[in-house]
């Protein structure tokens, strides 16, 4: 029932989306092709990251008392990103969607602008670019997550915008490699952000080492899989990416445990949920892992020998 309602919601969007011409030979009612499946996986990745950004930016900007009106922007753009990602996940067509494209592009740009804001926030404080300000002022890597969700969504549309047969390409390059590269770099960047904050926490719990070890290995395996022929590495990559995705989910539980370790525990949530480890942050790794799995799926379809 929910799915049917979902299609009802999507139809008005289709009307709005307009004019990209339908590719010949395919209609919405046939089973989705491998390319579409991969694209939808990327929409899912984008949506996952956007959900993380939505809640995280809302909480962190609430903590910042929305002292600058611009702090509402990421909440708006990530909301739209979540919405269009949900739309994309159920879309079987072989073409990019203009509204989705626009939202994802906007998310990407807003993320970059946000990074600029955060850099300014850090450097204007006494001490400038210091450990104190990197630890405790606006987190430099957080707006980038918005850009990453935009990037993955944008790639979803580019992947989707290919013929059903033949190797899908993104800006003329093999789609699998582009997505793998984007995912790998994104994983490393997100690891750096998590690593900075876990370093601030002095890695007081061994589990805090997970997000600084697992994702880089995933990135390495993914790069290796994209560079070379198909085969055993991809199984390892798939397993490791799945584990990284699970790590992102487990991270929420671990952060909840961290919140409970604050003075007063959950009863003092108005302090500990905001001063303690950010609950919505870890699933950004899950989203990136999903993108990596999409890259693997694209590789599988067009394996070289």
């Amino acid at each position: 029932m929910a799915w049917a309602r979902h299609r009802q919601v999507c139809r008005p969007l289709d009307l709005v989306a307009g004019a990209a011409p339908a590719l010949p030979g395919k209609s919405r009612t046939e089973t989705p092709t491998a390319i579409v499946i991969a694209a939808r996986q990327l929409n899912r990745a984008a949506g996952t990251i956007a959900t993380s950004v939505l809640i995280d930016s809302a909480m962190e900007h609430y903590r910042g008392n929305f002292h600058n009106k611009a702090m509402w922007t990421p909440i708006v753009t990530s909301l739209f990103s979540v919405a269009v990602s949900a739309h994309g996940v159920s879309d079987r067509r072989h073409r990019a969607h203009r509204v989705r494209d626009a939202v994802y592009a906007a998310a990407g740009i807003v993320g970059l602008i946000g990074t600029g804001f955060h850099i300014f926030n850090v450097t204007k404080k006494v001490g400038g670019f210091s450990w104190q300000n990197l630890f405790y002022s606006a987190p430099l890597g957080a707006p980038a997550a918005m850009s990453l969700s935009g990037l993955m969504g944008f790639l979803a549309e580019r992947v989707r915008n290919n013929r059903p047969e033949g190797e899908p390409r993104v800006f003329g390059l093999p789609a699998a490699r582009v997505v793998a590269a984007a995912t790998g770099l994104s994983l490393l960047g997100t690891t750096a952000e998590a690593g900075l904050l876990h370093f601030r926490g002095a890695f007081h719990n061994p589990a805090m080492l997970l997000p600084v070890t697992m994702p880089p290995v995933a990135a390495g395996l993914l790069a290796n899989a994209a560079a070379g022929p198909a085969g055993a590495q991809r199984t390892a990559s798939k397993v490791w990416l799945a584990a990284t995705a699970a790590m992102g989910v487990a991270g929420v539980g671990l952060h909840a445990y961290g919140v409970s370790r604050g003075m007063g525990g959950w009863r003092n949530w108005r302090q500990n949920a905001f001063a303690g480890p950010p609950l919505p942050a870890p699933p950004s790794f899950t989203g990136l892992a999903l993108a990596g799995l999409a890259a693997l799926a694209l590789m599988k379809e067009h394996a070289r020998d």
Binding site: M263, G264, R270, Q271, F274
Partner: protein, 216 residues
């Protein structure tokens, strides 16, 4: 004090049942608020002089929620809750207070045609206290406790903290109040946690009061 309240409508007691207060703090503040307003250590005469003295050291001109500082002083002396040490030329806290209250009353009578300290006008009381602070009061009457030392080391040390130990004073200055288990998240002066006092900018008292009533 005629100034408009800086933190209108703010009341730390509104946070009594929030995580900002814990059980032991509630018990302690309840006890303080229930301090009997009658002498248990001081004699009736000493109480009258001390009452008048406290009203000059921390005036609360006709304020509806005025705190009985003499009651808190009496309780402090009863429990002997001082820092314990004495200056070489002064007696310990309790004895110092008894001696000085008597000397102060005698000084008042000597200078004001037999009117005791409690019977003087505000201005006359202030004048006598200022004279103590400036070292212009001495004599036989003060042999056991030097007037200037008593003013600086006992009056100013013992009395103002009584006022600033009371929630009324905390509200007045916008202090966050008790803070356990809940401390503070936003550590900057202009970034407030929702449980902190809102300061009224000039002309914005009504708005601040409305916001302060929601502080919890």
């Amino acid at each position: 004090m005629t100034e408009a309240p800086r933190y209108p409508g703010y009341d730390v007691l509104e946070k009594r049942n929030t995580p900002s207060w814990d059980a032991v703090t509630r018990r302690v503040i309840d006890e303080r608020l229930a301090t009997p307003d009658k002498p248990r250590f001081l004699t009736e005469e000493e109480w009258d002089v001390a009452d008048a003295l406290c009203r000059r050291i921390v005036p609360q001109h006709g304020e509806a929620d005025a705190v009985s500082l003499v009651g808190l002083l009496d309780a402090k002396l009863l429990g002997d809750h001082g820092a314990g040490f004495r200056e070489a030329d002064m007696p310990y806290m309790r004895e110092a207070w008894r001696k000085a209250l008597s000397a102060l009353d005698g000084e008042a009578r000597a200078q004001n045609n037999g009117r005791g300290f409690a019977e003087l006008s505000d201005k006359e009381q202030d004048a006598l206290l200022s004279a103590m602070q400036q070292g212009r009061i001495s004599g036989e009457r003060w042999a056991g406790v030097d007037a200037k030392s008593f003013f600086e080391r006992r009056i100013l040390v013992d009395v103002p903290p009584l006022y600033y130990s009371h929630p009324k004073a905390w509200n007045e200055i916008g202090f966050g109040g008790p803070a356990s288990p809940r401390g503070y998240v936003r550590l900057d002066g202009n970034r407030l946690d929702p449980w902190e006092a809102i300061e009224a900018s000039p002309g914005q008292e009504v708005k601040a009061e409305r916001e302060n009533r929601r502080v919890v």
